[in-house]
């Protein structure tokens, strides 16, 4: 059943009118990832209980290819108790050819909520400067506990540091659909 659900005779409230808006959450500034331990970034959104959200996570990043001593960017989700993210991801392998437009083998996954997914870069020296994109789309389902949906990022392996790009870059688009 779609959300919000309208019925004849219902009072039109601003809450219900706003309920289906598409929200944007942006990463404010670049975040250099220096650790293989996942850390939070600016991408977070408050989820209601017993709800379903459709989302598109557009990740902008730079990384040195693993063959040149770099580490890929890793990302996963942190959710309230009982919630899960049904994710469909698309991202570069760790060691693509060098060059921003060379292209790469692509990892198409359906990982679990907290599975770290990698996105490799095409730079050959650090700091990396080629802007690439990685995608995570799907739905978020919450149970009885409301709370924050948070993107966690890290350096996927040892090597020079990847950068999560901020400003007019990384963004989450999300809306409640049930």
């Amino acid at each position: 059943m779609a959300f919000p659900q309208w019925r004849p005779g219902m009072i039109l409230t601003s809450d219900r009118m706003n309920a289906r808006n598409l929200y944007t959450v942006i990463q404010a500034s670049d975040q250099v990832l220096t650790s293989e331990t996942e850390t939070y970034c600016d991408i977070e959104y408050e989820l209601e209980a017993n709800a379903v959200y459709e989302y598109t996570m557009l990740i902008s990043y730079s990384a040195v290819r693993s063959g040149s001593g770099g580490a890929a960017l890793g990302w996963k989700w942190d959710v309230p108790t009982g919630a899960r993210v049904e994710r469909f991801t698309s991202s570069y392998v760790q060691n693509p050819d060098s060059g921003v437009s060379s292209g790469a083998l692509i990892i198409q996954r359906r990982p679990a909520t907290t599975t770290l997914v990698q996105a490799g870069g095409s730079d050959t020296s650090s700091p990396p400067s080629n802007y690439h994109s990685a995608y995570d789309r799907g739905v978020v389902l919450t149970y009885t506990t409301p709370g924050m949906l948070r993107l966690q990022v890290s350096k996927f392996s040892s090597g020079s540091n990847p950068i999560l790009r901020g400003g007019n870059q990384t963004r989450l688009l999300i809306r409640r659909i049930k």
């Binding site: 598409l22 790469a104 083998l105």
Partner: protein, 175 residues
């Protein structure tokens, strides 16, 4: 950082047709095919749309094209000054061997006018390129127009397909 959605309703506000229509997704498609050859100069396609001022739009672009592997396609945006996209692109790398061979993909976050490669495998083989993201607009609003060229000038035709919603943009105002 969470941006304010659009339209934002507050108690007591009048519900007008304009407000109700404001958040509708809009479809822009090309009415005709667009053909280029022997050129690496970016040229305006008929795919163009207007946006309000001081706004943010979410968009998805789907490009349907054919091109030889010796020419390949590139595409970019021409925008009114201040109309700035956050582009997230997904396209074939250059020189695709054949229609169903598969190819490396290019995932980029390029600037507005950066030509993005979309590789082809022959003038009769239909491939697709996708782009999504957001547009931010200046106070006066403005437009965005899709531009295309060949990556390498070639006598064979590079075609961007119109009609039957082949190449199109879906966009909606979100702030």
């Amino acid at each position: 950082m969470i941006r304010q959605p659009f339209p934002l309703f507050i108690p007591g506000v009048r519900v007008t047709a304009n407000v109700m229509n404001a958040r509708n997704p809009r479809l822009v498609m090309m009415d005709n095919h667009f053909v280029i050859n022997n050129t690496t100069t970016l040229t305006d396609t008929p795919l163009s749309f207007e946006m309000d001022g001081n706004a943010i739009y979410a968009y998805k672009l789907f490009i349907s094209y054919t091109t030889s592997s010796s020419a390949d396609l590139v595409y970019a945006w021409r925008t009114t000054p201040g109309v700035t996209p956050a582009r997230f692109t997904h396209s074939n790398a250059r020189d695709v061997p054949s229609l169903n061979s598969g190819a490396k993909s290019i995932h980029r976050r390029p600037s507005t006018t950066t030509p993005i490669f979309a590789g082809g495998s022959g003038v009769n083989n239909f491939h697709s390129a996708k782009e999504e993201g957001t547009f931010i607009t200046p106070p006066g609003g403005g437009s965005a127009t899709l531009q295309v060229a060949q990556a390498t000038a070639d006598a064979s035709d590079t075609t961007i397909y119109g009609q039957n919603t082949n190449t199109f943009v879906v966009y909606e105002r979100i702030e």
